[in-house]
């Protein structure tokens, strides 16, 4: 599944996507990042790595995930909609595609301990899971506010033997958990690997994570071909927090101009409400978590505290590849409010019997906005399931009675 494609949208030899990317890290992180940069391609291209990675994706994660023709949803929107069922991955989201890959890299680098950040807790659970599987110590930083709103995932991480450390600095959400995880890595430079949870951070993380998530579009190609006789859809929809499920869903379609790539950002209470996480709508170029990208910030370059109903999208930046897809117009970015996402999540639940994650609700909410025609084929990356969001959904049950 991991292939090399020369593409204007892929990382260049210096770690950049056009003006975005790079490795803007303090010297304390330089040796760690350099070690990873110099080894990730070699390691991940070894046949033995590929064999173990594929086997775990099959036997442990449960891949390939189905590509499901959503008939009632299709009828509702008068088009043809397929759902790429990442919600059926072990642990309930696409996040584990990346953590399986990275734990195998960490082992080959001789690391003894794993540190990670998490927002919704999905990446934390996926990391705690692979650490249990491989017998490595696991420390997960999670914003204090997210610990409150994603309680079931905190308990799952603890059950899996991980140590969950509250991030109490700044906005106490994903951005601050990421800062804390980086600080932990700075303090433990030789024996620890940082499993970053999205296509963010210094090079080579965005590229490495995208390659692990590329399995999503690789499978979609063969499944779509099998089911429809064509390998490419007219639209590929995915939500973007940092952007890992979108990066994977877009990966093999980046150089297929016939495929419209649609990225759903969290508008929170509305793009101009002051409570939003719509990065491309509100942000401008700058540097965040080791990469040059687009981020929400003040005039003075201070990172803004984002807001979204969905903890996994509550992040003030996007991965550098997405910044480039936005800047070049290759992908279209839509801002989806909390309300639109809730509507879409309830709609999918009622029409197809699938309760999606709130993050995924944002991708689904794009369906009425893209102008898909009856004979168009639309694929939605169903990035995760909604169990973790049940408390939030329950609060709104009355409204959808």
């Amino acid at each position: 599944m991991i292939t090399d494609m020369p593409s204007p949208y892929q990382v260049d030899a210096h770690g950049y996507y056009g003006p975005f990317g790079g490795a803007y890290v303090p010297e304390m992180l330089y040796p760690n990042v350099e070690e990873l940069r110099d080894n990730y391609l070699r390691i991940t291209q070894e046949p033995e790595f590929q064999r173990e990675f594929q086997q775990l994706l099959t036997d442990y994660v449960g891949r390939p995930t189905p590509l499901f023709l959503a008939k009632r949803l299709s009828a509702h929107y008068n088009t043809t909609i397929y759902l790429k069922r990442e919600d059926l991955c072990h642990t309930g989201a696409h996040k584990i595609n990346n953590t399986i890959g990275q734990i195998l890299v960490a082992q080959r680098l001789g690391k003894k301990r794993i540190v990670a950040e998490t927002g919704a807790g999905q990446h934390g659970v996926a990391t705690a899971t692979v650490c249990a599987l491989m017998g490595l110590e696991c420390i997960v930083y999670m914003g204090e506010i997210d610990i409150e709103r994603q309680k079931p995932n905190v308990d799952r991480m603890r059950m899996l033997g991980a140590q969950v450390v509250p991030a109490r600095s700044g906005s106490k959400t994903l951005k601050d958990a990421t800062n804390e995880a980086m600080r932990h890595w700075i303090s433990n430079p030789t024996d620890t690997h940082y499993i970053i949870g999205s296509v963010v951070g210094p090079h080579p993380y965005p590229d490495m994570v995208a390659r692990f998530q590329a399995v999503i579009s690789a499978e979609t190609i063969s499944q779509l071909l099998h089911q429809t006789g064509r390998a490419t859809p007219d639209f590929m929809l995915a939500c973007v927090g940092g952007g890992s499920n979108a990066a994977g869903a877009f990966y093999h379609y980046l150089d297929e101009p016939g495929v419209r790539l649609i990225a759903a950002e969290a508008a929170g209470q509305g793009v101009s409400s002051g409570h939003s996480a719509a990065t491309t709508a509100l942000g401008k170029p700058g540097i965040l978590h080791g990469a040059s990208t687009i981020l929400m910030q003040t005039e003075d370059g201070q990172v803004t505290e984002p807001y979204s109903i969905s903890a996994g999208l509550d992040y003030p930046g996007i991965g550098p590849q997405h910044a480039q897809l936005f800047a070049t117009g290759r992908a279209e970015f839509l801002s989806i409010t909390d309300r639109q996402a809730l509507d879409a999540s309830f709609q999918l639940s009622r029409l197809e019997g699938i309760i999606p994650a709130l993050e995924t609700g944002h991708a689904l909410a794009c369906l009425p906005l893209i102008g898909a025609k009856p004979d168009d084929v639309v694929v939605v990356c169903l990035s995760g399931r909604g169990d973790k969001d049940l408390a939030t959904y329950t609060k709104h049950l009355e409204e959808y009675a």
Partner: protein
């Protein structure tokens, strides 16, 4: 001559560099703290430009950054505060330390220009990659007479130390042990070995040790193989505790206690 260059020509041992965050504890404390440090005998002062996401900093400096931002500190405000200091008898060399994003948003050339106008002698931008500096910014910094400081850690390879030393022209900032600022570094045999190993490289730049230096003993231990040391978090803690009226006296006492 650049005050930093002049300092290191004059003084080659026991150089004391003190860090504090601009706009902390109160927005307009920057210049009075600077003056008190000069009067107390600090050789060099590093003024931190506060940032929302200071990943290389521990809790103490994180909090001072957050407080300064809440007080309304910005890069533009800092330059306004520093406007006339060189006319008002501040002669101590000054470095600005900060993360890259606020500088980029301010405009790198405008930043350099303002540094020159206010009499800032050098910069420390920990997340400015060496290759980006070399490719994009080096001529600009030189044009405005700004000296550049790079960090080195115990994990930095000798080859990389040489690269950093070749491009630095202020000093080399030796991070005492793996960690963020404010970590309790005990000046043990490992640290001593790292410092003497670095000394043996015979770098072209002076070396100052930072991270976890807090008192006379750690200052002396750090200075044994180097040009001097940097105190940050311990000084921020003093600023947190000292009442405003007694602050200058407390600063004098603090600096003297380090030198004793």
């Amino acid at each position: 001559m650049n005050r930093l260059t002049e300092l290191f020509q004059r003084k080659t041992a026991d150089v004391l560099n003190v860090y504090f965050t601009a706009g902390f504890p109160q927005l307009n404390d920057t210049v009075s703290i600077l003056k008190a440090l000069q009067d107390a005998g600090a050789d060099l002062v590093e003024i931190g430009m506060p940032y929302s996401d200071p990943v290389a900093d521990g809790e103490t400096i994180q909090r001072s950054n957050q407080q300064a931002l809440e007080n309304g500190m910005t890069v533009a405000t800092l330059f306004a505060q520093l406007r006339d200091i060189r006319q008002q008898g501040i002669t101590v060399p000054i470095l600005l330390m900060g993360y890259l994003n606020p500088v980029v948003q301010f405009g790198v050339e405008k930043f350099c220009q303002q540094c020159q106008e206010t009499g800032v002698d050098g910069v420390i931008l920990p997340d400015l990659p060496l290759d980006v500096y070399e490719r994009q910014y080096r001529p600009l910094f030189a044009q405005y007479g700004l000296k550049v400081v790079f960090l080195v850690t115990p994990q930095t390879s000798a080859a990389r130390v040489r690269q950093l030393d070749a491009l630095a022209d202020g000093f080399i900032y030796l991070v005492a042990a793996a960690g963020t600022t404010g970590a309790q570094t005990d000046m043990n045999a490992d640290v001593d070995a790292y410092l003497s190993r670095t000394k043996a490289l015979e770098l072209q730049n002076p070396t100052l040790v930072g991270f976890g230096i807090s008192d006379a003993a750690s200052f002396a231990a750090a200075s044994r193989h180097t040009t001097g040391a940097i105190i940050g978090s311990a000084f921020i803690r003093l600023l947190q505790q000292a009442p405003a009226e007694g602050r200058s006296a407390a600063i004098t006492e603090f600096v003297h206690s380090i030198r004793s």
